[in-house]
């Protein structure tokens, strides 16, 4: 299966990777434990694309399969069914040797620190540093620097037994980060840390993601402080990804939807639902996107590029990033209000009528308000709104 096929299958706007440099591609990933009558499937047809530098939070109830998915991405398990490519390694057919080679590019942070009690803090970190080729002196400098960064400069030669729980966890994090890994997989990394230490660790993870290395970070966590700083939130329930949201795109869409006159009054939950189902369409410069007076069945939000809106043949306004246009005429009982022409090549987030109606199904107050308006106002008045 080619990467191109995978990318084209990801048409929902919030599902798409933040950048073009994709480091994780999963398609149709299934996984089961046991065989025969004891076989229990824990992952069902999961697809995911994550680009370099994203900070991804994986959430979900216990037993939802998030740890299994994480271990598959971390090359800690052998793939059974589906396609999985991580950092350029096709894990669908990778042997143990190739998986071990991949793991050297990944920093693992576990709930338990798993430090060798016989080694000092710096020696535990050096066990990881030794995996990266280089001079011993530089290796030691790297180890000292990362321990210093995590506030353990005065604890480098202490044994784990002489460190507090939080300090041990920070040593484990230093061990995971010392080789500047291309990807970090972490399981509740801040669970045993105090607020200040958690902040230090989160700052460091974001530094790595935003820095020149653009490290990709995948965290399994329920820590609200982490959720607030995630680029993407992936939620699994019953072995399926039910939410895969690139947060900044979702926020951008929600803001654009909220600013759209016809959708005013939509609740945050409805806006989020709408954002989650919007797809992406590329359009070429010069292409007419909507025509004034025609029946429409879509809302558009500008993702990239610029368009010009015309009313009654005259230039009305410029449509830029985050701005919406279009109309679902059958619902609002009015035609498309303006003609919009792409000035540049564009990427549009599209909300179809069916997705709109499905998303509205739970927002009874909004529907009641719209119906009330429709019942009491003249169509011309509605158009003015």
């Amino acid at each position: 299966m080619s990467s191109a096929t995978l990318t084209s299958s990801m048409t929902r706007a919030v599902n798409r990777p933040a950048g073009e440099d994709i480091v994780i591609r999963a398609l149709g990933v299934n996984y089961a434990y046991g065989t025969g009558e004891t076989r229990t499937q824990v992952l069902f047809d999961n697809s995911l694309e994550i680009s370099r530098g994203e900070v991804v939070i994986m959430t979900g109830p216990s037993g939802s399969g998030k740890s299994t998915l994480l271990t598959l991405i971390g090359a800690l398990r052998t793939m059974q069914q589906g396609y999985l490519e991580v950092l350029g390694h096709n894990l669908s057919r990778a042997g143990e040797w190739e998986r071990a080679r991949l793991r050297k590019q990944i920093g693992f942070i576990f709930q338990q620190h798993n430090l060798f009690s016989s080694l000092s803090a710096i020696e535990n970190v050096r066990m990881a540093a030794a995996l990266a080729p280089g001079a011993v002196k530089k290796m030691n400098q790297r180890c000292e620097a990362i321990l210093d960064r995590l506030g353990l400069a005065d604890r480098t030669h202490h044994l784990p037994a002489e460190l507090s729980g939080g300090q041990k966890q920070r040593v484990a994090i230093a061990r995971a980060l010392v080789n500047r890994p291309r990807m970090i997989l972490a399981d509740e990394p801040t669970a045993s840390l105090d607020a200040e230490s958690s902040q230090t660790v989160l700052d460091l993870l974001h530094e790595l993601a935003e820095g020149p290395d653009k490290t990709t970070v995948l965290l399994v966590t329920h820590d609200q402080r982490v959720l607030d700083r995630a680029d993407r939130i992936v939620k699994l329930v019953g072995g399926r990804i039910v939410t895969n949201t690139l947060t900044k795109v979702a926020v951008r869409i929600c803001r654009a939807l909220a600013a759209t006159e016809a959708l005013k009054g939509l609740g945050e939950a409805t806006l989020s639902r709408l954002a989650n189902v919007m797809t992406v369409e590329p359009r070429a410069a010069g292409e007419t996107l909507t025509r004034q007076g025609e029946e429409g069945d879509r809302f558009y939000i500008v993702g990239t590029g610029v368009a010009d809106a015309y009313k009654d043949g005259r230039f009305d306004e410029e449509k830029c990033y985050g701005e919406g246009f279009g109309m679902i005429s059958s619902y609002f009982n009015r035609p498309i209000p303006s003609t919009v022409v792409a000035r540049t090549d564009m990427e549009l987030y599209v909300l179809t009528k069916d997705d709109f109606l499905n998303a509205l199904a739970d927002d009874h107050s909004f529907e009641a308000r719209v119906r009330n308006l429709l019942a009491n106002l003249h169509p011309v008045d509605l158009e003015n709104h």
Binding site: S67, W97, N114, S118, M139
Partner: protein, 389 residues
């Protein structure tokens, strides 16, 4: 790449807990001591059984074809020795008479009769290469005297000292002097006397005439430059089938082989060595397996980080290697003390330097590495994915 790039993980894991280290080293040392002692007993036994033969001052020997060990002496007529001396390559020939079953020494202080090994030969022949016997030749050439082995068991015979007078198989004898030879598992003491005294005390060794005397071992000294193989062929052609021709080395090898494999006392002790090896392997396996089990999550973490099974194996094997060296050193020390004590108590020739210390070291290393490799198998099944569970 060196594992851990100079992080001495194996050493640290082994030495982290001092009580545990002590127990581990003690376990390995116990096995080493067991192997040293069993092998020491085996070598002491075999060495002691060839003690007399090694001191025969000649290059070739004549023995009875039915002789399978010197401890059960069979004889051949003295005439064969005279015939052998007739060959130009033979410089001299000496008869050695041995009794192991019929000689009894009366202990002077208790009057008890104790069986003793008696060796007789013409004093002027110096058939045994023992300095005291050579130096005191005149003294023990006299009638009714013996030379006594001072390494004989004192608790059996009383103290063998010059001037002590007692009975040997019913005849009064005086100890004319002492020498050092050493006992074996068949004999707790040794006496040496002249052939003339021997014939008086043990007339059954004589015959109708001088040439019919019943010799146990004929010692042949050959002229310098003589080819022993050719001489053996010549002797076999010259002598009838009632005598066997052996080089001294063949005689020693034959005697050792009998006690080692036929008796088979040597094999019993060899089994002891093997048992020591097995016990040691089990102890080492338990020690290393327990250590690995305690650190399974840590090893799984290393595996998750990208360390291969082979690299993890190397850590355990290094740990096993260090354990083997420490266990060997401790075992060697204990064995030196025990060898000295056993020699003091039993008078057996317990000589550590002749006990293949390097072979025991190799066995110890193999024992620890083997058990380490077995213990390290659990690392293969370590699933780092479980760390995310």
């Amino acid at each position: 790449m060196a594992f851990g790039n100079k992080v001495p993980l194996a050493w640290r894991n082994l030495t982290e807990s001092k009580p545990r280290l002590f127990a581990s080293v003690a376990g390995a040392a116990f096995a080493v001591t067991l192997m040293f002692m069993e092998n020491g007993f085996r070598n002491a036994l075999l060495d002691s059984m060839v003690n007399v033969i090694e001191r025969l001052d000649g290059e070739m020997v004549l023995v009875s074809p039915t002789l399978y060990t010197l401890s059960v002496p069979f004889s051949f007529p003295l005439q064969r020795l005279i015939q052998a001396e007739g060959l130009p390559e033979v410089e001299s020939a000496s008869p050695v008479y041995v009794t192991t079953r019929t000689g009894y020494w009366r202990r002077p202080d208790t009057g008890a009769l104790v069986r003793v090994c008696v060796i007789g030969y013409p004093p002027e022949d110096d058939a045994l290469d023992i300095p005291e016997l050579r130096e005191n030749r005149d003294a023990w050439s006299r009638p009714n005297v013996v030379m006594a082995d001072r390494e004989s068991r004192e608790d059996q015979f009383g103290k063998f000292e010059t001037g002590v007078v007692s009975e040997l198989s019913g005849r009064t004898m005086e100890i004319a002097g002492t020498f050092a030879l050493g006992i074996n598992v068949q004999s707790n003491g040794n006496l040496v006397m002249s052939d003339r005294n021997m014939m008086k005390v043990f007339p059954e060794l004589g015959g109708p005439s001088l040439i019919d005397r019943k010799v146990t071992v004929g010692v042949l000294r050959v002229r310098p430059g003589t080819d022993l193989d050719q001489l053996r062929v010549a002797l076999r052609e010259a002598l009838p089938a009632d005598v066997r021709v052996l080089t001294k080395d063949e005689f020693i090898a034959k005697e050792r082989e009998f006690w080692d494999k036929v008796a088979p006392v040597g094999t019993v002790f060899l089994i002891g060595v093997v048992m020591g090896f097995i016990v040691g392997a089990m102890i080492c396996h338990q020690v290393l397996h327990a250590d690995i089990s305690d650190r399974l999550a840590e090893f799984a973490t290393l595996k998750a980080m990208g360390y291969s099974n082979a690299q993890l194996f190397r850590v355990v094997l290094m740990q096993a290697f260090y354990l083997s060296l420490m266990g060997y050193a401790a075992g060697l020390l204990v064995s030196v003390l025990l060898f000295d004590w056993v020699h003091h108590v039993t008078s057996l020739p317990m000589d550590l330097s002749r006990n293949n210390p390097l072979a025991i070291l190799a066995l110890t290393v193999v024992m620890c590495l083997g058990s380490g490799a077995l213990a390290a198998r659990s690392l293969i099944s370590v699933d780092p994915a479980e760390l995310f569970a």
